[in-house]
Symmetry: C2
Subunit: 332 residues, 2 copies
Amino acid sequence: MEEPSLAERDVLTKRESGVTDASPMRLRMEALIKEKQKEIVQAIEQVDGKNFLVDTWDRASGGGGISCVLQEGNVFEKAGVNISVVYGKLPRAAILRMRSDHKALDPDVESLDYFAAGLSVVMHPKNPMAPTVHFNYRYFETANPDGSQNAWWFGGGCDLTPCYLFDEDAIHFHKTIKEACDKHDKAYYPRFKAWCDKYFHNKHRGEARGIGGIFFDDLDETEKDQEQLFSFVQDCLNAFLPQYLPIVNRRKDMPYTEKEKQWQQIRRGRYVEFNLVHDRGTSFGLLTPGARVESILMSLPLEARWQYMHEPEKGSKEERCLNVLKNPQEWV
Amino acid sequence: MEEPSLAERDVLTKRESGVTDASPMRLRMEALIKEKQKEIVQAIEQVDGKNFLVDTWDRASGGGGISCVLQEGNVFEKAGVNISVVYGKLPRAAILRMRSDHKALDPDVESLDYFAAGLSVVMHPKNPMAPTVHFNYRYFETANPDGSQNAWWFGGGCDLTPCYLFDEDAIHFHKTIKEACDKHDKAYYPRFKAWCDKYFHNKHRGEARGIGGIFFDDLDETEKDQEQLFSFVQDCLNAFLPQYLPIVNRRKDMPYTEKEKQWQQIRRGRYVEFNLVHDRGTSFGLLTPGARVESILMSLPLEARWQYMHEPEKGSKEERCLNVLKNPQEWV
């Protein structure tokens, strides 16, 4: 008889013992992101007044996802809150690539079972004064043939993309996530803020996608123990609503002109450029066999615009925003 | 004294003897695409009634470009007719990659001077009944240290992207380019039509970008002699206006609904996906140091839309178009 797969073992564990603090990290992370997805969906529905569409699907090799999308709402042009849980096989080439960051990976096997789970949020408000927000927090694990844990790591981050820059919004967004970081390690915020500025960069334009936040990847036992990192990611997830709700609430009903809406659409074009040209998560997703394309591309705005040689007027609010994107700032 | 660069030699040759049939192919290709750019710009201005914006620029290492863009015209939402002429240095890694297709490339040098010249056209009409059209024809050459020709090849193609499918348009577009191909080699059209269907494919969606045309690359001395291939590319360029003008003229004033306009915007989103995710020319361009980003991205439409889980109605015209994109057809 064949050994049960990691996915089959996990289904069995959940059925027999539920998920507790003593469960494998895979199951605890899955439970956490499901709970956070519900909280965020509820809070955003309250702001918007319209409900999310919920799609649930299973993957043939184990796992699945829940995509919650709110489209053409009152406050949000498009908002997506997605969970995905993947059980798959990592081929040898991918193992060798990943070994540079994770020495625990066994270089002598042909393939490894892996598990990946994450929660991704992208919200594009209608009002050009209200910024787009994004976060993703994820956990990755590989398994030994007997199902025990081989290598594991956490990754994630959050960033804010305004079309019009209100300093108080940028300061609030950064301050809130800095507090979450500081609880765990005073070095985290400066280190992950710089990583974020480097990652969310539209290299071909020489501009940042937005005004940043934090970004981290490959946090494993060489960083801190698993329990401490899980607790850090929990605090990052908990920071999201306090980070973003006050901002969207004070911007969503501001007056704006047709010209300001058009500037927003041009900035949305840049968002599309980053996601399709540079974002590793999007490329990885689109190349994964059997990927759910509509869930990956829910990050794209409802509408975008490419206007040849558009330049903001000298001394305008649009120019000021662009200058900050070209020269990332410290906000706290 | 340092040897003059390829770019400097070419400037000198043009100044001293002009460009004739006896000139190096570089200069003949440059002269051809400049002439064709003028013809096409004039013809499109006549259809639209609005003039193109013309930007001319030089590259520090030699060469330069002319970008002609017509934006928010009467017939065209956005139309670009671009020339670029590049003199540069091909690093060793690029030489080794290209050697698989071109044995004439010397594998034993650290770098090679190269020349590339091409004309690119993308036109997005306003009316959703009028299809988007694209073509690019280009010539590439590497030089020996004494300035003589090392390896060379031609590449290019054209394709049509309708949102609503009129069989007569697809047949006309294919028939016209097939006639240009047949004059040179009866095998060209079937071979390059299949290559086009393969290349302009949104793999992540399992759909073609449009209803195809032709595509070819790396046509060098192992295919036909240089004079014959140049004459073939000339005929392809000459085919463009007869290929496209009758189509846009019969569609540009057709009535359409708001819903049909929205379907066009969704299809424009797919066009953006192909160009930013899959198109080799766009990625190569965006990675080239000192590239003129606005000229590369003039291929993007003025506006695009991403609507989560959009599905055309059963039996609708939109569904018929999508079915053909999923199953490329023979048109002649």
